[in-house]
């Protein structure tokens, strides 16, 4: 061993999980299921739908992986059907991570 960091087998098999940032980081304003959100850390303003709001305010308060997120969304009576698609969820999470709205844990 030379001091290099080596992944062990458990890390390699670990399923990625995400968590929303601090709830105080976002100011919301919404009308009829469409929202604008001001993200305080970045100063950016985003146009988001109801599913996104549910993810950031409720579902991802605790860390979840993509499968858990899909399950949670399917339980939301008013969720957007498109967001239940795992590929779509992954795409949203990747984008939210880019924007700093969620963090990988």
């Amino acid at each position: 061993m030379t001091g290099k960091c080596r992944l062990n087998k458990a890390d390699k098999n670990r399923v990625p999980r995400w968590r929303a940032g601090d709830q105080n980081d976002i100011i919301w304003a919404g009308w009829n299921g469409e929202y604008v959100a001001f993200h305080r850390p970045s100063g950016a303003t985003h146009f988001l739908n109801l599913t996104s709001k549910q993810l950031l305010e409720d579902i991802l308060v605790e860390p979840k992986d993509a499968a858990q997120i899909a399950t949670a969304l399917s339980r939301c009576a008013s969720s957007d059907d498109e967001a239940a698609d795992p590929n779509e969820i992954q795409s949203i999470l990747d984008r939210f991570e880019e924007l700093g709205l969620v963090v990988r844990v």
Partner: protein
């Protein structure tokens, strides 16, 4: 912020000669919320500014000014170079010298530049604003979308002109602050407005500018006299001039209107969270619509009829 001594009449109270003499030495004008100090040496500029700024209040000597703008004659090469003019503000020239024949649009655009770069105590929308009673219609639009022509038409039909270029809002407020200025009509719009209202006062026509042919319409009576009265945001109308189109007003979802307005604001990022809350407040308080039109007469009638039927 500026503090002014009492105004001492208007530009129109001076003869052209008196105004030219004072313009060469420097003259103070109240333009909306700004105390502007203007000085200019180019010939023929005095009569044009005297015409367009006829109703603007003169400031007393000793006023504290928001900015000092100058337009001076110069040449690329002494004695033999092409006559040019140099715009400067507070001793700094923000852009290259321009042909002397374009003196009037240069000083007008120069003042727009000063306002856009300096007025960060306001949230600034790139929009025209017109008023009906104490209510304001905000017309946000990219350059070339026809907002000046449309706002000129409305102002010539009884609406108050608050601005054809800047929607100024105190952060946290939902009131529009007037800054009525001569309206820069471009190319075909000049004749459109001449036909629309032959009694409208249009200043000299300047060809071959970077925006084509330009002429300025003096703000109609009442717009300057009421420049101290804010108007509460009531309508946000995104205009789209489409050749041959019928007038169509379509509701814009408020979240979408927020994003459009935020992207339209010159200095939205400067204001951060307060800017966001201000935009949300404006949208919450207003009807938000897209307006497609082609004929100016029909457009003015349609918007006026709509506004008069709209409750607060």
């Amino acid at each position: 912020m500026s503090v002014s001594l009492p105004c001492t009449g208007t530009v129109g109270d001076l003869s052209i000669k008196q105004f030219e003499d004072r313009l060469r030495a420097g003259i103070g004008l109240r333009i909306g919320p700004f105390n502007a100090h203007l000085s200019a040496t180019p010939a023929r500029l005095g009569p044009a500014l005297h015409l367009l700024y006829r109703d603007y209040p003169l400031l007393a000597d000793g006023s504290v000014y928001s900015f000092h703008a100058r337009l001076d004659n110069c040449r690329r090469m002494p004695l033999i170079g092409k006559p040019m003019v140099r715009f400067s503000v507070d001793g700094q020239a923000p852009h290259e010298d321009m042909p002397a024949g374009q003196a009037l649009p240069v000083i007008e655009w120069g003042m727009n530049l000063v306002i856009a770069l300096r007025s960060h105590s306001y949230l600034m929308l790139h929009s025209a604003v017109v008023g009906l009673d104490d209510r304001a219609m905000i017309l946000p639009a990219a350059p070339g979308a026809g907002k000046t022509t449309l706002s000129a038409g409305l102002a010539l039909r009884g609406w108050r002109l608050l601005s054809d270029e800047f929607g100024l809002i105190r952060p946290g407020s939902t009131e529009l602050v007037p800054i009525p200025r001569p309206m820069a009509l471009k190319n075909e719009s000049i004749d459109v407005i001449r036909r629309f209202d032959p009694n409208g006062c249009i200043g000299p026509v300047t060809p071959h500018t970077r925006k084509g042919t330009v002429a300025h319409l003096r703000p109609p009576d009442g717009s300057i006299a009421n420049a101290a009265s804010n108007a509460k945001a009531s309508w946000i109308v995104f205009p789209r001039w489409v050749p041959g189109a019928q007038c169509v007003l379509t509701e814009v979802p408020k979240a979408e209107a927020c994003m459009l307005l935020a992207s339209n604001a010159f200095n939205y990022e400067v204001h951060g969270e307060v800017g966001f809350n201000t935009i949300v407040g404006l949208v919450e308080q207003s009807r938000c619509l897209e307006f497609e039109y082609s004929d100016l007469n029909t457009a003015v009638e349609a918007l006026t009829d709509f506004a008069e039927r709209t409750d607060d």
